[in-house]
Symmetry: none
Subunit: 215 residues, 4 copies
DNA sequence: GTGTAACCGAGACGGTACGTCGTGTCTTGAC
DNA sequence: GTCAAGACACGACGTACCGTCTCGGTTACAC
């Protein structure tokens, strides 16, 4: 499921010439994460990343259009590696698990400083927003969707006949889960520990049950 | 409830010298909001703000340490002016109201582009985080606390005897509400309309009721 | 012979009001010389002079139009105090004396750094040039004229009947003496010691004698 | 005899990277002279020079440490181009020639405003003094030395057996010639015309002859 | 004695230039 | 065609001085 290491437009038609160094790709993304940890989004510079990676600036710009795109790819790799949904047997436990997993990712210094920054930039750059969505957000949402399927298979949640309504509900739940974790971590700047996760999961499952019962 | 127009450290003990121009304060904050709308956080520059305000750059730096601090104060004024909680009669309606109000604020272009950017910066700057908290976040949280008090007065929510537990719950609810609205607006980039607000409020009230009943 | 301590336009017609502090005048000129010694012309600032003098910047600008005028007056005071021509008995010794006296003044750090700087500025500012001429140059030239008179009285130099020719000759001799000392001190950056002064005086007296004899 | 166009420290050992633009060198020095003529030393700014040269400020600072160094090199080029000593047949005429040539250079507006300014700065900056000496002063002094050699070859001046004494004498003559011309031009602010040059040359040759005869 | 007008300190003000840094492009020669 | 190196045009940074302008307060002379 890991994305291609080199994201930018590859050779179009031509086939000749020296091929791109895949070593450089890895070194650049690693250097980017390292720089994010040490400097944070605001102080990270392309020149510094290039120097850390032992690479010329030209090599960066050949692959990524700018700092935003580079950072999105660099943190996306982390979401790739660290997000999965082990089956914990019931909806409550699955939500707790996904919440703790999101939180663990957001607590990492590179993610913490980068994620909201690129989201902020994306409010004025649709291409960037799409890149974030496909590289990061959709991966998170997939977990939520998977969790719902499992809960429906277990009979904990009703099957929704209307596909549009089902999508709306899934979006709502996703925004609630991801939003709560992000807000807790970055805005309130307090830890998402097991206790908080338990309380949050209970609240959400309670709400879902009420909605199901009321319907 | 409007915050003092001049945010930075004022003269300590001395009384001499030409006093700071309050006109400049207003012009600068106004110019900052205008520049946020036109240029967005990323392209906003101190020099441009100064020029718009008809003010020298030094006048900005005399009052604010940098772009982050300036922008926090500029958007904080909006939260000051536009957040209140009209009593709509029941908890569900109050939540819907507060959600729509948060969302209206976040949809404004100046808020949209600025808020997550300063939050991102605040992950590496504790002074900035405190400034955001006191200037923006606490104002939001006050609404949530007020809403709970009203619901308790109406008997919709039980009084919590343990003050620590009450604070934890309030924090949880606040992160859920604010987080969901922020995530919907900025990350998912989809509108918070009446329908979404209704669905979200229903989910949350259901969860709260379940928690109250289960206890 | 000491010039008025306060050089700038005094009250025109009015007579009332608080009189200017003569203490401030002295403090400012002293501070200027001190700053010239410590910082040199290039790094000297009006604000720094004001601070050293324990005076507001306004007080400086009430008296002097700018850095150039202030510095000219500050160093002019030194020329006032330290230039005189003791009668050494013969033209050769008088020239040696005046050379050593000029040199001693130019070796002072405040004079060294300031004099050529204001001369350079004066190439584009006629008012400044006039100020330099009357405050500094004319005082030097007076010594040369006095020396010639004495030499003529002693019979070492012939009386020149044509006043225009006399003025031309005096100007030439003045430029030769002052120029040689200035160039030696500031451009060649080597000391004007007794030996150099003797050699120079001998050269000049030889030239004058040849001119007198040839005529 | 023309100096290298690029004055600042060149790359040490490395050979890679884009080479510095020699076109930029020329454009910058030309723009500097132009700015000196139009604005004078005091109003000349690095930014303005860069703009005139169609070059970024960083390109200036890559080559020169500051305004002083840049201006020295810019005017040094003029001394390079315009100083030579045509053989006029006798010492008197040679001195007249060199005086008029020095004067013509000093009358140029760029030289007039710049030369004393950098000399003034050099009183506090030894590196700058050395730069001035090697780029400007030594070129002038070479003419004086050449003139003496010719005069000695012609038998107008005696050969001096003691090399130290010869050097002292040459320095003295150089300071007298250059100093007199500079003082006449910049301090007295009067023209060095043919008549003045004749009078000065006569005075100096008379002095030299007297010294030679007296010895 | 009481105006009152010019002075004084402090320090904020609109400007201009500074010298540095980051961006994204380009130009080398090597591979 | 890619690579490392590094120069390039551009533009923002945050600072330092400039010379001016308020402030509140203080003299000293004229009434």
């Amino acid at each position: 499921m890991s994305s291609a290491p080199s994201p930018a437009p590859r050779r179009a038609g031509g086939r000749t010439g020296r091929p791109r160094s895949t070593e450089a790709d890895r070194a650049i993304l690693g250097a980017t994460r390292e720089a994010l940890v040490e400097l944070g989004w605001g102080k990270l510079t392309m020149g510094d990343v290039a120097a850390r990676a032992g690479v010329a600036k030209t090599t960066l710009y050949r692959r990524w259009a700018g700092k935003n795109e580079l950072v999105v790819d660099a943190v996306a790799a982390l979401f790739d590696e660290h997000l999965e949904l082990p089956d914990r047997g019931c909806l409550l436990a699955d939500i707790e698990g996904v919440v703790l997993q999101f939180a663990a990712l957001l607590e990492r210094p590179e993610t913490k400083t980068a994620l909201m920054a690129v989201v902020a930039e994306s409010t004025r750059d649709n291409a960037l927003r799409e890149r974030i969505r496909s590289a990061i957000v959709d991966r998170q949402k997939a977990l939520v969707l998977l969790g719902r399927e499992r809960a429906q298979a277990r009979g904990e949640l009703p099957l929704e006949p209307d596909p549009a309504g089902a999508a709306r509900t899934a979006d709502l739940i996703f925004d609630v889960i991801a939003g709560a974790v992000v807000h807790r971590t970055l805005v309130s700047a307090e830890p998402v520990d097991a206790e908080w996760a338990r309380g949050f999961a209970a609240l959400l499952v309670g709400g879902l049950a009420a909605a199901a019962g009321g319907a």
